[in-house]
């Protein structure tokens, strides 16, 4: 399944790049980078099932919860 996902993403990217009238290297690079990121995410989900979602400012949420805890109880 992992290989299949990579193949499908690769095939879609190859097909679209082939259809482009011009292929400036910067655009191709960004395109391939984003496709690789999408393929990596899809294959990780296939392999591991549930992936943790990054929360860059999640610590603020915990802080708010600490402040809020019991704050609204009567």
């Amino acid at each position: 399944m992992f290989v299949l996902v990579i193949l499908v993403y690769g095939a879609v990217a190859a097909l679209e790049l082939w259809l482009w009238a011009e292929r400036p290297w910067k655009k191709v690079l960004i395109y391939l980078l984003l496709t690789a990121a999408a393929a990596a995410l899809a294959s990780l989900i296939v392999v591991y099932g549930k992936l943790p979602v990054p929360e860059p400012i999640g610590f603020l949420g915990k802080l708010f919860k600490q402040w809020w805890q019991g704050g609204g109880k009567q």
């Binding site: 990217a13 395109y31 995410l41 989900i45 929360e55 400012i57």
Partner: protein
């Protein structure tokens, strides 16, 4: 190439974006019988952000979005912000696709894997996003009429099932549940409107952003208020918050002389159309933001990889219908506060300062007396 959207089309796009995939969820369920108050409170609380966004766009008059944005914030801050908002819009697209695929799986295709539905949705929104905001706005106008007509008919038919006693007693538990319900509604869907800030390339006149954002937002707020309150009055305040899809359940109760029944499928179609507009707009915003962040004016070449990423992302953020429900009713998380409230207000403050300084410099260069 400039993409110019007429005011009335932009307004309908805003309306469809907000109503979009939100219609079937228990919006403001925490407010209980005071849901209507929660909607009004949320509308009032959201208005400053909407007005700030419109003001910033108004200050960029005459230039395309990213040129104007660079003038306000400078090159690198605007690129960093575009990258962050690209991620935010992409995540929103993932959420909407997940909402729709889980909804379809729950009510219609229980044995079809959601990823199959997500793939078809991703193909559709890829197509729409590649066509650009002008085509999307025209499409929104076309389907908006159908959606609003269907909702109006459903509202009239639901009136026979409505029990106004469900709204009483008013403020029995004080104002706190109303505020919590209002924050629910602010988070999803009212302040998701910030994504639209990045979608419109340019406007026709200086007042156009106000004419697009303000009436669109207020109309969407009214539509959602009416539909949510009517559903609550049909299913009851307690059950409204418990159901995954209360509007679906409420419409299922319509029975006109045993002749006109099982109308919930119409709500499903309305939900699918609205969701399609919303996911396409979110993907378009993500594509525009990422392309600009990487230094390109043309965004269409990044649409396909981002849409392929959405297929995976829709199974990353949310996997079950329970998580869909939680994401729809949870109150503000810090990253959402940051993207939906803090950054728009900071950008607005910068834009005002820049405009003030520009005006002062202009008048001093012109001899100190003339307004430029």
């Amino acid at each position: 190439m400039k993409e110019l959207v007429p005011d009335h089309q932009g307004m309908i796009l805003v309306l469809m974006f907000i109503v979009g995939n939100t219609l079937v969820f228990p919006l403001g369920g925490l407010a209980g019988p005071d849901i209507w108050l929660a909607f009004l409170t949320a509308t009032v609380l959201a208005l400053p952000i909407i007005l700030a966004m419109a003001r910033v766009r108004s200050l960029m008059q005459g230039s395309t979005f990213f040129v104007g944005f660079e003038r306000v914030l400078g090159k690198w801050p605007s690129r960093i912000l575009a990258f962050l908002y690209g991620g935010f819009a992409w995540r929103l697209a993932c959420y909407v696709v997940s909402d729709v695929s889980n909804f379809i799986q729950t009510v219609a295709l229980p044995t079809t894997p959601p990823v199959v539905i997500a793939t078809f949705l991703a193909l559709l929104m890829l197509w729409a996003a590649k066509e650009g905001v002008e085509v999307l706005a025209r499409f929104a106008v076309m389907v908006g009429k159908v959606v609003l007509a269907v909702l109006a008919i459903i509202f009239v038919l639901l009136l026979s099932q409505v029990d106004l006693g469900e709204f009483q007693p008013v403020l029995y538990n004080g104002f706190k549940p109303v505020l919590r319900g209002a924050f629910q509604i602010l988070d999803f869907p009212f302040l998701e409107t910030v994504v639209l800030f990045w979608v419109f390339d340019c406007f026709g006149r200086r007042v156009s952003p106000y004419k697009v954002f303000l009436p669109g937002f207020l109309a969407a707020s009214l539509v959602l208020l009416i539909m949510a309150s009517t559903s609550l009055a049909v299913v009851g305040a307690d059950r409204y918050a418990l159901y995954y899809y209360p509007v679906w359940t409420a419409v299922g109760r319509i029975n006109v002389s045993t002749f006109l029944t099982r109308l919930e499928a119409i709500v499903g179609v309305t939900f699918a159309i609205g969701s399609f507009v919303k996911m396409a707009v979110a993907l378009l915003a993500a594509s525009r933001c990422f392309a600009y962040a990487f230094g390109f004016s043309d965004y269409r070449f990044v649409v396909t990889p981002l849409a392929m990423g959405v297929i995976a992302g829709s199974r990353w953020f949310i996997t079950t219908v329970l998580e869909v429900d939680q994401s729809a009713v949870e109150t503000h998380s810090p990253d959402e506060i940051m993207f939906q409230v803090v950054i728009p207000l900071v950008v607005w403050a910068f834009a005002e300062l820049k405009a003030k300084n520009g005006k002062a410099n202009g008048s001093s260069q012109a001899g100190g007396g003339e307004e430029v």
